[in-house]
């Protein structure tokens, strides 16, 4: 686990260095956008220090593909870091990264459409809340 965390920290440092030197290189990385409200709700998941949130794309849902999320500690060479702000780090695997590029996550308190809302620019179609989509 220590080795994984060192690898993850090294990755973030490299991202910071690259972004300082060239925004063009940095923008080629997979990035997702999270609203302040969604960020606040994700922080409530209370992800332990040294862990991160892993969001992958898996087959499922009414539109063919859906998102899986889990708290993880193991960062591998095939993983891609897609978000880091405050205490929140989000990682995905290489295969999911292409589907997550530009993903927008919001959170709604409106009961009829409550919870996390996913807007994916790569989706050909999606269900109401965006939790399931067609690539």
């Amino acid at each position: 686990m220590q080795k994984d965390m060192e690898m993850l920290n090294s990755y973030w440092q490299q991202c910071e260095l690259i972004s300082e030197k060239s925004s063009l290189v940095f923008t080629t990385m997979t990035k997702i956008d999270i609203t302040p409200k969604a960020h606040e709700e994700l922080l409530k998941l209370d992800i332990p220090e040294g862990s991160f949130l892993r969001i992958n794309v898996i087959p499922g849902g009414c539109s063919g593909m859906t998102y899986s999320a889990a708290v993880d500690q193991d960062f591998s060479n095939e993983d891609v870091a897609v978000y880091e702000q405050e205490r929140l780090r989000i990682v995905t695997d290489g295969g999911s990264a292409i589907f997550l590029e530009g993903l927008h996550i919001d959170y709604s308190d409106d009961l009829i459409r409550s919870g996390f809302r996913f807007t994916n620019p790569n989706a050909q179609g999606s269900c109401g809340c965006g939790a399931s989509f067609a690539g």
Binding site: L45, L53, R54, I55, G61, C62, T66, Y67, S68, A69, A70, V71, D72, Q73, D74, D109, D110, L111, I112, S114, G115, F116, F118, C129, A131, S132
Partner: protein, 72 residues
Amino acid sequence: MSLKPIDLTGGKSVYCFNQQQLDRAFAMFQADDESGNKIREEVKRLESVLSRNEQATLAFVLIDHLNKTSEF
């Protein structure tokens, strides 16, 4: 791997409507008859006294009760 799954998508879908059901409901709602008038009046009254989340709760509870008492 030490994954601890988190549900960000709100869990499985519980009740699913199809277009035919919605079309039939809106036809009843808009109909110029006793039932249509009754439904419109009640919807108007409820929308004026209940908040959005109260209306959603009412809708979910009614759908749940209707499903549980369905013969099919």
